[in-house]
Amino acid sequence: MAVKDREKKNSRLKVKIGSVKLPNPTILASGVLGVAAGGLIRAWKDGAAAVVTKTVGLQPRSGHPGPRIVGLYGNSLMNAMGIPNPGIEDYLPEINAAVNQSIPVIGSALGSSPEEFAKVAVALRKAGVTAIELNVSCPHVGSLYLLGMDPQSTSAVVSQVVKQTEKEIPVWVKLPGSTDYPRLVQVAKAAEKAGASAVVALNTLPALALDVESRRPLLGAGIGGLSGPAIKPIAIRAVWELYQSGLTIPIIGVGGILTGQDVIEYFLAGASAVEIGTGVLTRGSTIFTQICDELTEYMKRHRIKRITQLTGRMKSQDVKT
């Protein structure tokens, strides 16, 4: 089915993330398929409303030695890619190829200082991305994870990026995979105050898996990031905590989404859109259309006109924390 036809069929699924309007709530998560333009285009043709690029910095990075991924019990995954990327300059052709096809591209940026983040963001903006996603949360690269756990540092990065991009482009902050909710809320609020347009919750959780024969970590880098079904209830908990904290910018949920039901769960907890990574492995790159079909079926059965009506609508009067 052509993209246009699909959008018509799934008209109940339109969402807004601040000023960013999307035909459905599913977004390709950073680091999946996105090293090459062809991967971004494929995800979009297979139903993703927008695609996040591989996280990119100023300088090229080779990433960690292999193994870089390992599958665990229950379709969960750990990865320690180490954010390989050719550096923003050499990555621009990939972005251009996708942007030229009018695909909403979200540029994921990292940096070793607020200035570096901003330089990457400025280049991304020039390339025509729809929004910037700041990766202050990778659990297996340097001190990114700690940066995203610190409200001040995150605020400094966001301010600098917002300033250098002249407030002309939405800036999303991707939060660390953490269970430290007071801190996550503080970081999110600091980001909001510094001008962020949305938060993305969560990145992978820091984890360790060992091979008992060689007695070594199963990933080349040792520590890796846990993704997939294992982290879904943890990320949904975080989304709900952020939602009811008084944060006013939208929340994009991410972690372990495999089905339309999973997306509804995220919405009920407070999400306005979702990103999908590991699910591409489990259900293939058409997971996006599959999920949109499942969502439309759900919406019809429940006679809900717009999926946006579901955000934060968990019946929660009894919820204790």
């Binding site: 991967g39 285009i41 995800a43 193994p67 990865n79 050719p86 050499d90 091979d211």
Partner: protein, 290 residues
């Protein structure tokens, strides 16, 4: 959604860590490793590969050069850190293998009376040995064009001789054995005598594959080529090995492609390094890429 996957992660995602059973020096540059890895060995087809983990060093892609019973083999050309580390290992040392990965060669239907042209260039020889073995078992007549830089680097000449091939034509760059030239010249030699092939299956340096494709333009013989690209995940997730705007992944839809599907791709044009940066493929370079 009902998924029928078991809770135990598939061997494509979680390594089987197992001692090396046997190491055989095939040429000064190539060693063949045998491991016991039943879940992989039992379902592997020629052209598929494994991610081979050298604990403490790295994990790199390796074609399966043979699979029988519970055992798999792969054959490693020493070119850099990980392959050098591999070459130092001995029987009993542990390796991890994930696989079988990707899609292998697709044999034409109804083998009876049909012939295949297999073309192996240097470090691309391992999957061709496995393909030749399987093709013969399936009932094809098999011709092999085998090339290498020099006589002593001719890989698997002996194993190929032990198979019931119809023809084996050897070529060396320096003419130290067989025809002087590449495996493509060996293939041309075979095609001159007889061009009735149901298909041609090839693996080797990308320049060689490009040349073979040019040669085969003149014949109605479908060509399948096995490509090499830098691999990070090996299972189609990260996108590092994507070669076209359709998002085809060498690790997942490949490494073997029908050359027709590669028209608007990076084949013969671009390759990526470990950072994901694109570099032009030198189409005249017909030596091993690594």
């Amino acid at each position: 959604m009902t998924t029928n996957k078991k809770l135990t992660p598939s061997t494509a995602l979680h390594p089987i860590v197992t001692p090396i059973l046997n190491v055989k020096t095939e040429t000064p540059r190539n060693k063949r490793f045998t491991l016991s890895a039943a879940p992989i060995a039992r379902i592997a087809t020629p052209g598929q590969f494994m991610m081979v983990w050298i604990p403490g060093t790295d994990e790199i892609p390796m074609s399966i050069s043979n699979a029988s019973g519970d055992q798999v083999e792969f054959t490693v050309a020493r070119v850099g850190d990980a392959t050098t580390a591999l070459h130092k290992l001995k029987p009993g040392d542990l390796l991890g293998v994930r696989g079988p990965l990707g899609e292998g060669f697709v044999f034409p239907k109804k083998p009876k009376g049909k012939a295949l042209l297999l073309v192996a260039g240097g470090c691309g020889t391992p999957p061709i040995l496995f393909a030749a073995t399987t093709a013969l078992e399936t009932g094809f007549a098999v011709d092999v064009a085998l090339g290498a830089t020099t006589s002593e680097e001719l890989l698997f000449q002996q194993p190929f001789k032990e198979l019931k091939l119809r023809n084996l034509v050897v070529a060396t760059d320096d003419g130290s054995e067989g025809i002087q030239g590449t495996s493509v010249d060996a293939a041309a030699f075979l095609l001159e005598a007889n061009s009735e092939y149901a298909a041609s299956l090839a693996c080797g340096p990308e320049g060689m594959l490009v040349n073979l494709n040019l040669l085969l333009q003149k014949f109605p013989i479908p060509l399948q080529v096995s490509l090499e690209r830098y691999m990070k995940c090996g299972v189609g997730l990260c996108g590092h090995c994507i070669i076209d705007s359709k998002g085809r992944r060498v690790c997942h839809e490949g490494p073997v492609f029908d050359v027709k599907t590669l028209k608007n791709s990076d084949f013969g044009r671009w390759t990526r390094d470990s950072t994901g940066k694109r570099h032009p493929v030198n189409p005249t370079d017909t030596t091993c890429p690594s």
